[in-house]
Subunit: 347 residues, 2 copies
């Protein structure tokens, strides 16, 4: 192995020029040799390839990106990878992206609009060929995304989507999932079912609220606005969850069942109930959207709506790469809805 010591301190990978100089060739010849064109003599080619191998030459992808005006990488914006659901989505994304020669850059919003905007602007400013986006809980203004989209940056929304931008969307069947979870609570005998959910302007929130309402309606239970608690940052701050749950439990007509809209909120709510010494599920039956494996092991076990997170990541990525690699402008967009499954783990 030969080391590049042009500069003692900085990390300086080998370049075409290094090879050319060492071999007394021109850079274009070296480039051709490495890229397997026909217009090159077998000897030169072998010479170059051997030497490149020896010094472990790697083409500089930055230079390539600049030249080809694409980076073979995609950007992802999501709330946080500590959330099991999103971690699974990421695995799905990577599984497809790597197969197709793309790299993945993940950014976290932690549910803040400003962070999301900064992250996405940076991703877009050239380093990525496309975007996979799940909106933050705070986001209401998507104009910066509309901008990028109008200017031709391919993007696909997953999970938390917006109709303000005409492109592919992939979501779970939130309405049905919420319906089933609520129905489960009703069948457990709950009469006063509360709903703890994320920010009101998220697509998932309204979809899940709908499913919840439909279930109540089907079983002739009244809808009570006081039973709906929104957490503006999706329970990012435990305080949000804490206040919401306590308010619910301070109502004159205390709820006896709770439908929770997410992973994080479920965990947060359980913590509060534990503090309040309210027994789950004896005093409070809980069901909700949750993809955490750990919760499988929980006692009090809680029934959960599972989303096909890995698959969602895969499909979203496939859609995005197809957009990116499409030769022609795409105008036909799809809204894909994947089935959820109710995993009953009651006490």
């Amino acid at each position: 192995m030969i080391y590049n010591i042009r500069n003692g301190i900085m990390f300086e990978p080998f370049t075409l020029k290094d090879i050319a100089k060492a071999l007394g060739l021109s850079t274009s010849t070296v480039s051709r040799a490495l890229r397997d064109t026909h217009e090159i003599s077998p000897e030169t080619k072998k010479l170059v390839l051997d030497y490149a191998q020896q010094i472990n030459y790697r083409p500089n992808p930055i230079a390539l990106s600049l030249k080809e005006r694409r980076s073979k990488s995609i950007g992802v914006s999501l709330s946080e990878v500590a959330n099991q659901y999103f971690a699974q989505v990421v695995n799905g994304i990577e599984s497809i992206a790597y197969d197709r020669g793309y790299h993945v850059i993940i950014t976290q919003t932690h549910e803040f609009y400003e962070r999301e905007k900064v992250n996405i602007q940076h991703l877009a400013s050239r380093s990525v060929d496309g975007l996979l986006v799940s909106l933050s809980a705070e986001t209401t203004d998507t104009s910066y995304l509309q901008n990028l989209h109008q200017r031709g940056l391919p993007m696909v929304f997953f999970d938390r989507v917006t109709d303000q931008i005409n492109t592919h969307q992939i979501i779970a069947n939130n309405v049905k999932g919420a319906f089933e979870a609520t129905e489960y609570l009703i069948k457990q005998g709950c009469k006063r079912i509360a709903h703890l959910t994320s920010s009101a302007h998220l697509s998932i929130s309204s979809e899940r609220l709908n499913g919840y309402k439909q279930a109540l309606a089907k079983y002739n239970l009244p809808f009570n606005e006081a039973y709906i608690k929104y957490c503006a940052h999706g329970g990012m701050f435990q305080e949000e969850t804490d206040i919401s749950v306590r308010e619910l439990m301070n109502l004159k007509e205390k709820p006896d069942g709770l439908f929770v809209a997410s992973d994080r909120l479920s965990i947060g709510a359980l913590a509060v109930f534990k503090e309040l010494k309210i027994k789950v599920p004896q005093k409070m039956v809980i069901a909700g959207f949750c993809n955490s494996d750990v919760l499988d092991l929980m006692c009090p076990t809680l029934t959960s709506v599972r989303q096909p997170a890995f698959e969602m990541g895969q499909i979203a990525t496939d859609m995005l790469l197809n957009l990116i690699e499409s030769k022609y402008p795409v105008h036909d967009f799809e809204k894909k809805i994947l089935d959820t499954s109710l995993s009953v783990r009651n006490s």
Copy 2:
């Protein structure tokens, strides 16, 4: 807002040249105006800034990287973000990196050596300015890293470190943490304490094994090789954990206590005990390294050694950025050891 329609399909951000042409200036003037040098007239500057603002101009970071031969981004290699410990580390990393103007690219090894190598090679050639590495469970050969290091790529190891590369390291006090967890089990009355751990060649594994042995020694308990179970992929595949736990429970002298070396293994082991209908903690007391918030809510609660994950990420990043930005070669490296805390949550 003005749209760039040089090309109807592709996403073509504005360039300096676009601005220059529109304003009848040269690209260098525009560049200067945007970068706030003194050698520019206020009028020209205002003209350019206003126009740039109007079209929402962003400099192309790829071109910048190519020019400056650094990307203002750092690469991270870790096993998987679905692991709460690593998710917390990532948050720590990002908190520092963003403050100092760096972007973070996360790659997951899923405990595979090959994946790690490919990821890191790509990060390096893609001109990340430095690397934060926590080795995969499979990794024994670090020569490709030594290579990059010798050629001047700054790197800092965290959590799963190697002494084969002379650079900063940051780890938790694994010996002490393991000692305390084991001691806790002993004080609970356990006589036959098993140890479920990750791959044998990980630094964390040997450190934690040491602490475990020291505790046994202090309390005059015999060390029994049969009680040590390694999972080559850190429990990445539940089968590994499953087999290990079953083997332990098939021993003639069944263990009555278990010290588990990680998050994932704890969760996996609990699942097996549940399947085997072995009551925790009545029949099996468990303590182990774990940073999962969710486990706080678990019943059977298990006692855990907590690592200051967020802080580790912060410190590692600070160290790395100092290396990157250092004007002179650094030869003094530090091995930082952070304290763990035992969080007793017994039945």
